[in-house]
């Protein structure tokens, strides 16, 4: 262990958990209302970032306007996907639905490559790259105070991500639509019988997932650049969702932090093979979760009957 690096990497890891949590939030939103696990979330993220880039750089709009436009378009895209691809799958077995979202992910990835090309792009900077925050830790190692250096975009991405999760949590708790979505997630037929239009709820949750994906995409693109590999990020978000619990919105934050922290912690090691484990750490955590607590930290345990 490189002990003097430990606080730095732990902190960076924790902060990296923020965008992960935001990505995971998109997955949970759809799962909560319609029991669909969306493997195409990464591509939604990518398209959201690409559309923002197009408005901001190609059309030279101010960035905030570009983001607003992209959010509207991605919401419409979410609605369209729900209507065209997922509604015909109502009542189909799990396998078909999983494959539908996988097929969707391939189509969207192909579309992104076709329309925007595979080149690496510079995404407009939202948070300045210079002047990173420096925090001096109160403890001493080798006669030097440990200083943690945090890039501004990392910190602010984290703040935005946490804000997003908090807002969505409040939305689910206090608004009529949010409550209707929770009702729908409990039981589709029951929700229908008390007058909730469940198809509208499904559409709304896909639109919301598109919005969240775009936000996540913009945050990730502004800190790490924009190319087609952005969609791969979501593969690290699947374990976050399972760790936090598939139905739990606060779980995404906790899961994101744990996964981010675990990635940061293994990066501290002096042994190369352990250090390289940071890329598969989400999946190692995932396997541990699946074996010892399959429902996740805050998920619902399901009991099956014949």
């Amino acid at each position: 262990m490189n002990w003097q690096l430990l606080p730095q990497f732990a902190m960076t890891g924790l902060l990296a958990g923020g965008p992960l949590a935001l990505t995971a939030l998109g997955l949970v939103l759809i799962f909560k209302s319609s029991y669909i696990f969306n493997f195409a979330q990464g591509q939604l993220l990518l398209l959201g970032a690409l559309i923002t880039w197009w408005f901001a750089v190609e059309l030279n709009l101010p960035l905030w306007l570009a983001i607003v436009f992209a959010l509207v378009i991605s919401a419409l895209m979410g609605l369209l996907i729900e209507r065209l691809a997922l509604r015909p799958m109502t009542g189909q077995p799990l396998l078909s639905i999983i494959l539908m979202t996988l097929g969707l992910s391939q189509v969207l990835q192909g579309l992104a490559l076709l329309v925007f090309g595979g080149t690496q792009r510079n995404f407009p900077q939202i948070f300045s790259a210079a002047n990173p925050y420096k925090i001096t830790m109160p403890f001493v190692y080798n006669d030097n105070n440990i200083v943690i250096i945090l890039k501004q975009n990392l910190v602010w991405s984290f703040v935005v991500a946490v804000l997003g999760v908090v807002i969505i949590s409040l939305f689910f708790r206090f608004t009529r639509t949010g409550l209707a979505m929770r009702g729908t997630s409990e039981d589709h037929e029951l929700a229908q019988s008390i007058g909730i239009r469940i198809h509208r709820i499904f559409g709304f949750s896909w639109a919301l997932a598109g919005v969240v994906a775009t936000l996540g995409g913009v945050l990730l693109a502004t800190s790490s650049g924009l190319d087609l590999s952005l969609s791969v990020v979501v593969l690290a978000a699947f374990p976050v969702v399972l760790l936090g619990g598939l139905e739990s919105i606060p779980g995404t934050i906790v899961g994101g932090l744990i996964i981010g922290l675990s990635q940061g912690l293994v990066s501290v090691s002096k042994v190369p093979i352990v250090r390289n484990m940071s890329e598969i750490m989400p999946y190692v955590v995932l396997l541990i979760v699946l074996i010892f607590r399959p429902e996740g930290l805050f998920g619902q345990k399901r009991i099956e009957r014949i």
Partner: protein
Amino acid sequence: MAVLRPAGEFDTSYASDMATIRQRWQWWLLLAFVVALYALPFYASQSVVALVNRIGITIIAVQGLNLLTGYTGQISLGQASFMTAGGYISALLVNNLGWPFFAAMPAAALGAGIVGLLFGLPSLRVKGFYLTMATLAAQFIIPWFTRNAFPKVLNGAQGINVQVPVLFGIEFNTPQRYIYLTLTVLILTTIVAHNISRSRLGRAFVAVRDHDLAAELLGINLFKYKLQAFFLAAVYAGIAGSLAAHQIRHINSETFNLIDSVMFMGMLVIGGLGSNLGPIFGAIVVEMLIEGATLFGPLFISLFPSTAAGAVQALRPLFFGAALMLFLIFEPRGLAHRWQLFKAAWRLRPFSY
């Protein structure tokens, strides 16, 4: 699907009742087909032979997935990673220990099977897409292992070169020669898969798929059969991986990747889940589709000159994804089901039912 047979065709013994191929003319037809396949290098161009070769190897991998997903109902996104395992084991045995290919391939199949068992272990506790996630973990952990573990033997992300298989002094170094290997193995795996599916094992698989709790109440040991399904799927993947690695003569952690795993699942759905014809139809259609996308690319670029050269790469996932989605909406039982309908219609002709 009711069993529809031409008039006057009756079973007179248990053997003929169990037979897969009932009529003499069907045997002749099959023989002609096999001969036509084996004679392919004499009348087809090298690129066609290479394509058939690739399709054959893909079919083997998808057959394994069919046993796991089609019959047992356990969704797996890790099939390509078991191919990676099989390919590496076979390559190492041949390169480093000097084994002949024909001993290394079964060993690779067995090794991949054991890896598959390992990643099938969570199936005791979880199912549905929780299990999908566990297989997805295999898709990350196995390639990672080949990149990072034993750098002296596995050569990290560079991967290793694989020797050409040799039998009786014949080097299988061109597609025209390699196809004999692929076809022979493919015929064997097809026979084995077909017979597994109609034996006690296959019926237990189907019971687990249709309702696992009910199957358990009937006395089927869920854990045992799920693990057997994982083992078999990985064995098939190991064979396919070994064949592919020795054909490409190189293997690294990205030779078989997540996209391949998704493709295998897609092929299975397009072909037809839980049918022995499914993997064959699916692999052929999807590989042709991808080949078509490659041919279609130049035309596309000439129509829209502004698109980047990456357009051809974009068309592949686009075609595949669109085909998969359309099949899921309009024919979720796949081409094999269409084929059954067609056969029934043919036998009932001129009546509609």
